[in-house]
């Protein structure tokens, strides 16, 4: 009984441990490389556009327009090619007996780390726009005002300080806000809505 216990509980596991010593590192070393695409570091592009913001001067009909250079947050995509970790289970079995399994796992892990090869593929936008310079007055910009509830448009030009005069709305009591747009070439950019009544 004692001999059987000794055989099963000590000799067989010890034999297994000896047989599997170095297993993880040799299996990992001989494994083929596997390539995956991962996202790398984030960085900013150059200035891609200007963000305009409109603010109403309290007490009069003048609006102040500012412009903020915006950059696109980019993330680099790269291929990562490396060997895969194998033989983890036999190495764990070894640990209980001689501690050799730990060394085996460390070596196997080092093989994986050393085999890593990163190649950048492309930069893709994350969808986030980030201010990348100081806010400045939007000088000499053509501004379009569109009054709420109507399709009536008014046009104006900002001065050197980004100030522009807003004419009276077509139906003053009913116009809650005016949308402010800045013309940039053939496109327009939304600079915000300015409330003509107390904002909700």
């Amino acid at each position: 009984m004692k001999l059987r216990f000794f055989r099963w509980m000590v000799i067989v596991p010890a034999g297994l441990a000896l047989l599997t010593a170095g297993c993880a590192s040799s299996l990992t070393s001989s494994s083929p490389r596997q390539t995956t695409i991962v996202e790398g570091e984030k960085h900013l592009s150059g200035t891609v556009e200007l963000q305009f913001d409109a603010f109403k001067n309290p007490g009069d009909r003048r609006l102040r327009l500012t412009q903020t250079p915006m950059c696109r947050e980019m993330i680099s995509r790269e291929t990562v090619s490396r060997k895969q970790l194998h033989g983890v289970l036999p190495a764990i079995i070894e640990i209980g007996f001689f501690g050799l399994g730990i060394l085996d796992l460390v070596v196997a892990n080092a093989i994986v780390t050393n085999s890593e090869n990163r190649t950048p593929i492309e930069d893709v936008p994350t969808g986030k726009m980030v201010p990348c310079a100081v806010v400045q007055p939007a000088a000499d910009q053509q501004v379009i005002f569109q009054f709420s509830g109507t399709n009536t448009l008014q046009y104006g030009l900002t001065d050197a300080n980004g100030m522009v005069e807003l004419d009276a709305p077509p139906s003053p009591g009913e116009t809650a806000y005016t949308n402010v747009f800045v013309r940039t070439g053939a496109a327009k950019r939304f600079a915000g809505a300015v409330w003509l009544m107390p904002a909700p």
Binding site: P125, F181, G192, A193
Partner: protein, 263 residues
């Protein structure tokens, strides 16, 4: 006690996981009227996604539902084919009109009529005229198909063409753009929809109204498509508004016989 404590934290973490997938990514939730979605279509949306890197989760419904979803925080921006009411403006919603779209009176291509007067439109849609014979001389029963009462197409048509009189109909579709599908299969059918939804449909004919073609700037039934935000738009919503005002979309609007509002 310790077990309960761990269980509580596990439940909290599990609840946060789906919330994170919705709000942590650079995604924008867009509730859009079926007419607006049809007008601008998938290619433009795809172009926005590719150039901006913003993922857009679009929910297509009626304008009313799209605005309701915006008000309740289910989306950052809505596309609507109707104007905001006073209550919605007081709730802080801001409407940015993008384009004006002629609302077409559509019939099956085999329908003998090619134009109607405003009065004939009213008489067809209030049930006074039930056959094409008095209009164009061909014996063919009229089947009136209307988009759902909750849609902006229905509300706009009732206001512009029917002067707020009742509309009598044979069939009603849940989605405004489904009326196009219904008309395609019924030779005597008549309906109405934002004209871009029926633009490239070979089985559908758009009728002139009072001698004015759909491309005419004085065409009588014009609805405005807008983007709506709740207060100051989020950066993603603002990028989307700017895209809608871009040269590319403006060209698309013009070439599809719509009219840009901000010009």
């Amino acid at each position: 006690m310790k077990r309960h404590f761990l269980l509580f934290h596990a439940v909290v973490l599990l609840n946060l996981l789906p919330a994170c997938s919705v709000f942590c990514a650079e995604a924008m939730h867009f509730s859009c009227s079926a007419q607006v979605a049809e007008a601008f279509g998938k290619p433009l949306m795809q172009s926005f996604i590719e150039t901006s890197g913003i993922t857009v989760n679009t929910h297509i419904s009626s304008s009313n539902l799209a605005i309701s979803r915006l008000l309740n925080g289910f989306s950052e921006i809505a596309g609507s084919a109707r104007a905001l009411n006073v209550h919605e403006i007081e709730s802080g919603l801001i409407e940015i009109p993008i384009c004006r779209d002629p609302m077409a009176i559509i019939v099956h291509r085999d329908c003998p009529a090619s134009s109607l007067t405003g009065d004939q439109v009213r008489r067809i849609f209030n049930g006074e005229v039930e056959n094409w014979k008095p209009i164009c001389g061909t014996e063919m029963p009229i089947t009136v198909i209307v988009p759902g009462k909750d849609t902006a197409a229905f509300e706009n048509f009732q206001r512009m063409a029917m002067h707020m009189n009742d509309i009598r109909y044979d069939y009603m579709t849940w989605k405004s753009t489904a009326a196009v599908e219904a008309v395609r299969y019924l030779p005597g059918a008549v309906s109405f929809i934002g004209h871009v939804a029926a633009y490239d449909q070979t089985d559908i004919k758009m009728l002139d109204i009072d001698g004015k073609a759909i491309t005419d700037v004085t065409y009588p039934y014009i609805q405005t498509f807008s983007l709506v935000t709740r207060g100051k738009p989020s950066p993603q919503a603002r990028a989307f508004i700017d895209f809608a005002l871009s040269e590319r979309v403006t060209n698309f609007i013009v070439t599809h016989h719509m009219f840009p509002v901000i010009d």
